[in-house]
């Protein structure tokens, strides 16, 4: 998928009136079933990437779905999005920042990988069933603000097993932690604790952390070659069904007998 569309200023601006949903392909069976109904390959298979603009109930296509945006340009895509809002959802702007859920990735392990792909830091909420809702509530206004929207990947953990990708359990279990992913998204380094159930998140502190965070510059080909040489292989939750992807991975890993 052409990522340049999704980093275009006009598209980002238009996206503020949408609920933006990015799933990790092949990481959840129920999501895969849903995606396959939205768009599938010629053989009915789920491909690596899917793109769609959908109605609020997630059932009706508002533009042609495909592996990526089929618009002539990012500007045309933004125009279409704005047109949808004017024609069908004129009150969408009223809800821009009143989201009621944190934009969390399904697991900490997956979130670290996603953060590495995005070159973003993670904010991880850690607590038990009692403290996690309170911690999440603290983060909501920051996660959904023009200042911080989309600049962190979010995840939560409520057990020692969940925290395994961090390599260690934070001393005082409950709280909010800033985590730096390694370049291959297989582990995360706890940079600091930024809040807990009783102390508020400091927005100036978040800004400072963002300014200090420098993700590694990655070359696509070099990253894949290095990952292969180190033996860093990601096991998806469900089998990959993108035919080109399968062929390419087989060619790469054949020599390691994997």
């Amino acid at each position: 998928m052409d990522g340049s569309f999704l980093s275009n200023d006009n598209v980002i601006s238009a996206s503020r009136d949408f609920v933006c949903l990015r799933l990790a392909t092949y990481e959840d069976a129920a999501e895969a079933n849903y995606l396959r109904k939205i768009y599938s390959g010629r053989a009915g298979n789920l491909e690596n990437t899917v793109f769609a603009l959908l109605s609020h109930d997630g059932q009706r296509l508002l533009a042609r779905a495909g592996r990526g945006p089929s618009f002539r340009s990012a500007v045309h895509m933004a125009q279409k999005m704005n047109q949808i809002i004017r024609a069908e959802y004129p009150d969408a702007r009223d809800h821009r920042w009143d989201n009621e859920r944190l934009p969390e990735v399904r697991s900490l392990e997956l979130a670290i990988n996603v953060a590495a792909c995005d070159g973003l830091p993670l904010i991880v909420s850690v607590g038990d069933d009692k403290s996690l809702p309170q911690i999440r509530k603290q983060l909501l206004p920051h996660a959904w603000s023009e200042e911080f929207a989309g600049k962190f990947v979010f995840a939560s953990a409520n057990s020692s097993a969940d925290l395994r990708p961090l390599g260690h359990k934070p001393n005082n279990f409950s709280g909010v932690y800033l985590v730096e992913p390694d370049p291959f998204g297989l582990s995360g380094r706890v940079m600091e604790k930024i809040a807990d159930a009783t102390t508020a998140v400091d927005p100036e502190g978040l800004t400072s952390m963002l300014n200090d965070f420098t993700p590694p510059k990655k070359d696509h080909r070099q990253h894949v070659v290095s990952g292969f040489q180190f033996g860093f292989k990601w096991e998806t939750a469900i089998p990959i069904t993108d035919l080109q992807g399968i062929q390419a991975a087989k060619r790469l890993w054949r020599t390691q007998g994997k």
């Binding site: 949408f18 799933l23 009150d91 990601w234």
Partner: protein, 61 residues
């Protein structure tokens, strides 16, 4: 030499700050969360799915 070093440090900080300041799309990461929010707020959905691995090597879309 010292001035060059300071200039380089300031430039690096400036580039980092610019990158941090540039807006980004805010994504829900779970289908149920995004669908619930879209229904609740009556807003349309921008849906994207991508594999966080390339030829099974993680850390790259």
């Amino acid at each position: 030499m010292y001035r060059t070093f300071i200039t380089l440090c300031l430039l690096t900080f400036a580039v980092g700050a610019l990158e941090a300041a540039s807006p980004k799309i805010a994504w829900y990461g779970k289908l149920e969360d995004g669908l619930e929010e879209a229904r609740r707020s009556n807003r349309p959905i921008l849906l994207v799915s991508a594999a966080p691995q390339c030829q099974n090597v993680p850390g790259m879309w």
